[in-house]
Symmetry: C2
Subunit: 216 residues, 2 copies
């Protein structure tokens, strides 16, 4: 008679899968995707390298899965705030603060998700992730424009500016030193958020000015 996968086995398989994903996730959180080598993942998960390929067709797929899980958590946090009932200004404020705050606290992870050099497969996932950021920001922005809280502005572009400004100011060569972020990270975040909000709120005034100039 045909072989049937027993509940017990199914559970073990699921456990293994989780163990592998967790091992990979931990390695990524520590040393970025560069540190997630198949041999290492296997070792950390307590299985043989060959076993990895019973659960994932390739390293790329495994890494994508990890990326999706980790980034989904981040997105959910932001999406929750964005969906709130407060004014657009308040939601934008909180979303920016949260985004920046989490990036500072989980710097290594933020680096892996946003800035680390990765190959095409992961770059695709990252693109999706960033586009979702864009959508969250631009959603709030168009709410704000509709409500008259913000001056009319190209929400796509403003969202992209925000999505670029925050990571650059917190991660990478233009960011403050790590220890500096440690002690006065909050004021740094404060300043970044301020810049972005001003960019949004001032944009319309500017725009009107240039329109006036143009139509004069």
């Amino acid at each position: 008679m045909a072989y049937r996968r027993t509940d017990n086995v199914a559970a073990r398989l699921a456990d293994n899968r989780r163990a592998i994903l967790n091992a990979a996730r931990d390695l990524v959180a520590e040393g970025g995707f560069a540190a997630a080598q198949m041999t290492e993942v296997a070792r950390k998960a307590g299985v043989a390298t060959g076993t990895l390929y019973r659960y994932f067709p390739s390293k790329e797929e495994l890494c994508r899965q990890v990326f999706r899980e980790v980034s989904a958590r981040e997105m959910n946090v932001l999406a929750g705030i964005a969906a709130g009932k407060e004014t657009a200004t308040a939601r934008l404020n909180e979303v920016l603060r949260t985004f920046a705050g989490r990036a500072v606290r989980g710097r290594r992870l933020a680096y892996a998700l946003l800035a680390e050099p990765v190959d095409v497969g992961l770059a695709e996932e990252r693109a999706r992730f960033r586009r979702m950021h864009g959508e969250i920001f631009s959603g709030i922005l168009s709410d704000g424009v509709a409500a008259g809280e913000f001056p009319p502005l190209d929400v796509r572009i403003a969202a992209a500016c925000i999505a670029g400004a925050i990571p650059t100011a917190l991660i990478g060569p233009l960011a403050p030193e790590s220890h500096e972020l440690e002690e006065k990270g909050d004021s740094v975040i404060e300043e970044i958020v301020r810049f972005c909000l001003a960019g949004v709120e001032g944009a319309g005034a500017k725009k009107k000015m240039s329109e006036q100039r143009r139509s004069a």
Copy 2:
């Protein structure tokens, strides 16, 4: 008697060196640093792969040299504007416009310099490049603050925000489609510049507000 390198030969060597660098540069401009494989560079330069190693100790060194030459050109353009005698506002405006404009026109190159995944050696060069951007921006900003054109602000952070916003809004997953940039690139640039200027000019007002709030 000792062998002496004749002028003729020296010239040929220099020519070869240039040919190699140009070949590499062209490949990078077309397909990023990923496309600059030693075999390809050699083919395009019209020499054997082994010859490359008579002129450069390693691929990394060759690529660094290319990066330096290309990025130096960009920096010089910006530095020239930054050093001008106009008001900080005017210079900031022009620097941003120029930066964005060149990024749009030379999208592939901009991608290679700013966003393409590269390995550690080049990442170092890129870090230098981006820090120079930061310095140019923050230089103008502190001029503006000193002159009272801009409200008091943390110029480092504002500079980082600008340096992040512009490329993100023009290159990568959050940027408009390429054809879109083709037709209405100028208005996109306009909007980005506006956002950044507003971020700078509005920052102080905000800051004062929060200071008031804090001291209240």
